[in-house]
Symmetry: C3
Subunit: 170 residues, 3 copies
């Protein structure tokens, strides 16, 4: 089912609270990644989380294939470890910026369905800052011990041509 | 009168409510356009709405001329139809991002005068994502049946050199 | 002490209020600068304010050196005056956009420690809009007569290669 057609749209006051909570979540998420603390990145996900990075063409066609596919916290941790090691060889600064946080649904079990636009900027040593990718998160959040966690994050990028060395989490 | 010098600045609590409402409006507006549903675009405007896309030099000089000028829902619908047809020949992804939503005035008749910064990203097939334009919306919103609608949207772009095929709504 | 390890993290409701207040502050700050009213720029600072523009490498190493260093309102006013004069010779449009406003601490004396991501776009006559720099503000705000003022703003840019004619305030 496309997110836009979700049946359980929440009330405006709820939307405001949820949008604030998800913005705060995303700002923390970005702060961790942009500070290069990639080992802490899996902490934003549930144990059974799905993390996917895929192009908009694939997402629009409901194809599961993508550039990155992680199912479960084990795969996320493996990926974080691999990145932490490879980062030494390719120093760069990343910065995430967010906009257009939309609450699409609050489901009966408390799952929050949300979409956020992102821009990921990249600065390599001795180069100008460039747009690494522009895209959107298609997210499913759950609450665990009063904290929000990602049960699914699909990073759907518009940018068809991406630096082939896409190793850093979006 | 320049918007900055508007006499009827609203109270802080009102500003917060209005800013939230206008952010939600703009996020929906972008979601519709960025999904390519250009036929739904006129639904964000009143019947007598003004929609203008113009450069900052023109706007600063209070010149009405611009790249795009639509007065009334009829012209907006004509434009939407023309774009929907021409889009087939030039596939591209667009993404709007917003920042700096400012409530400049709440007038006696309920009109909200607001300004929002935007970036419009464009991705053509087999090309990198580029900044199509950076600019600001100078808006006048009214309420109709509890919904906000645009009575005027002036898209004032900084970018002096714009892809001459600017056909998609900003 | 790195901002991330700040001991006095405020409660969520306070965070929401503070984030709103700081967003409004930054939107006004940007509106003044982006309209070219650089003479009004020092009004956003306390008399004893610190204003620094520096690269992320320097900031991460806690080095005080930077591209721009102003201590006290006198130096800010001198800088504003110099820019106002030199702007005549290099006409350009600037636009600030903000994201990821994070409240890191509310200290006992009321000082608010905050961080905001920014993008500064620049458009020169007859050129495309470019990203002048991507970075973050590391800020310390105080209240004076119910208004927020900057006691310190450190603009920490990712962009290692910046237009050498960086004269306009960030």
């Amino acid at each position: 089912m496309p997110l836009d057609a979700h049946p359980s749209a929440p009330a405006p006051a709820t939307v405001r609270d949820l949008r604030f909570a998800i913005e705060e979540f995303n700002f923390e998420y970005a702060a961790v990644l942009d500070a290069g603390k990639v080992a802490d990145w899996p902490n934003f996900f549930t144990d059974d989380a799905l993390y996917v990075v895929t192009g908009r063409e694939n997402a629009d066609a409901n194809l599961p294939v993508g550039l990155v596919y992680c199912e479960g916290i084990g795969m996320l941790k493996d990926r974080a470890l691999a990145i932490a090691k490879s980062m030494m060889f390719a120093p760069r600064y990343m910065q995430h910026q967010f906009s257009n946080v939309r609450i699409l649904a609050l489901e009966a079990d408390g799952t929050i369905v949300a979409r956020t636009n992102y821009v990921l900027y990249q600065t390599l040593v001795d180069e100008k800052t460039t747009i690494q990718q522009v895209g959107r998160y298609d997210d499913r959040f759950v609450r665990r011990d009063k904290r929000l966690l990602l049960r699914a994050r699909r990073c759907v990028y518009d940018s068809l041509i991406i630096d082939t060395a896409l190793i850093y989490p979006v």
